[in-house]
């Protein structure tokens, strides 16, 4: 004979059991986990930006927007160029009007809301341009927070967004420490630089790398020791953005300055 108390107990246990996903029972093997992190593949895409070469022409931004069908006049872009001007009074001025889609054709710094700051040449201590794009982190925080599995890292290290699966919650946009994500004005799903995945997988360079006249941008396979990008990363002085976040970014900068965030 079953008592009411027993029946309720069984019912609760049964319901809890049904709710338990099978993945929770799997016991992780530490060795397998390590292999998962380093990855068995032969390709891992990486990027080098030589900031000494960048002149701020913005041809990379223009090419990226057209190649990746990002509405040209919407103020969103997968890659952009920032201008940093450090003056003798110790102040930093930085801007990136329209993401530098049209380059920098004035000395005035765009402070936003129609305000501009004029800086005299003789007051400048140092000034330079910093191109930015998705860092394709090894530990992408944007992927960790996605509740539906719409953004993920491919086996060759590129973080992609599944537009058919994205619910548009925007967690990933908040989670990215580099601010590279935005909503696509047309699809209303999360959007980001994907190293022109349709190009690199065909043996082409990304649109921004190809469009840059000065060789300030380079893309390559960092698992191939003979690759020019791998050589720069392993033999020259390079730095990544916000390494303190532990995201392990894979866009390496030559000539990075402490002021760059």
């Amino acid at each position: 004979m079953i008592t009411r108390r027993d029946l309720l107990k069984y019912a609760i246990k049964g319901a809890a059991g049904l709710a338990l996903p099978l993945a929770a029972i799997e016991i992780m093997n530490p060795k397998k986990l390590l292999a998962d992190i380093s990855g068995p593949g032969k390709v891992r895409w990486g990027f080098v930006v030589d900031t000494y070469k960048c002149v701020g022409c913005g041809l990379c931004v223009k090419a990226c927007k057209i190649e990746n069908e990002i509405p040209y006049d919407a103020n969103v872009t997968r890659t952009w160029v920032e201008r940093y001007v450090l003056t003798k009074d110790g102040k930093l001025s930085a801007d990136s009007p329209k993401g530098a889609r049209d380059g920098f054709e004035t000395k005035k710094i765009d402070l936003g809301l129609g305000n501009f700051k004029d800086i005299k040449n003789e007051d400048i201590n140092k000034a330079f341009f910093i191109p930015k794009l998705c860092n394709q982190c090894d530990n992408p925080p944007c992927v960790q927070v996605c509740p539906v599995g719409a953004t993920y890292q491919t086996p060759d290290g590129v973080v992609l967004v599944d537009r058919t699966w994205c619910i548009g919650c925007g967690y990933c946009i908040m989670a990215c420490p580099y601010g590279v994500r935005f909503f696509h004005p047309k699809y209303h799903t999360a959007e980001k630089c994907n190293f022109c995945y349709h190009r690199i997988t065909k043996g082409l360079k990304t649109a921004c790398v190809q469009a840059c006249p000065f060789g300030a941008r380079m893309i390559g396979n960092i698992k191939d020791p003979d690759d020019p990008v791998a050589k720069i990363i392993t033999t020259e002085r390079v730095a990544v953005l916000k390494s303190e976040y532990g995201t392990k970014p894979q866009v390496y900068y030559m000539g990075l300055d402490e002021e760059v965030r």
Binding site: I2, R4, L7, L8, A11, G14, A15, L18, A23, D36, G39, P40, G41, T51, Y52, K53, C54, V55, G56, C57, G58, L59, K62, A63, I66, E67, D102, G103, E105, T106, K107, N121, I124, K126, A127, F129, N139, V143, Q144, G149, Y152, Q153, T154, P155, L160, D162, T164, W165, Y197, H198, K202, L204, K205, Q210, A211, P213, F214, G215, A216, G255
Partner: protein
């Protein structure tokens, strides 16, 4: 105290509950694509629909690069390759080739002053390559004229004409 007295009000909601769970499992089975699941990089970074990788590979290539142009337009290609503008891709001024000449049959050339000023507006920034490029003041240098009125973009230096 019989089974009947216990049965109905406990088993009926229990069966309904189990039925809802089963229904959800059936819906999930048909709604979630076969290739959705945990892939190479594990649950944290590799939980996705694998077919999406192929979706991204299908995006159309628009910028073909100068090698795409050089066979048909060999004269233009040869002329720019002898100038300092050899570092600039054809498509940066002529627009993306896409499937030219099939589509589009004709490219639209950007002849605006703004295009030239991307590099030739003088910004003497130390430690940037921009400082090494010759520039003009667009407010005083032949206003209202396209640069190409005087400067051939494929052979821009007037003194070696």
């Amino acid at each position: 105290m019989g089974g009947n007295y216990m049965g109905n009000h406990v088993f009926r909601p229990l069966f309904i509950f189990i039925g809802i769970v089963l229904l959800l499992l059936v819906v999930r089975h048909f709604y979630v694509p076969r290739d959705f699941g945990i892939h190479e990089r594990g649950y944290m970074y590799g939980w996705y629909r694998e077919g999406n990788i192929e979706d991204w590979k299908k995006v159309q290539v628009k910028y073909q690069g100068r090698d795409y142009c050089k066979d048909c337009h060999s004269d233009k290609f040869a002329s720019i390759m002898q100038s300092p503008h050899a570092i600039i891709q054809c498509e940066n001024c002529h627009g993306p080739a896409m499937d030219h000449p099939a589509n589009p049959p004709k490219l639209t050339i950007d002849r605006s002053r703004a295009l030239c000023l991307r590099c030739h507006y003088p910004l003497p920034y130390p430690t940037s390559g921009r400082a090494k490029i010759k520039g003009i003041d667009p407010d005083t240098h032949n206003r209202n004229f396209q640069c190409s009125t005087c400067h051939n973009p494929h052979k821009p230096n007037l003194s070696i004409r």
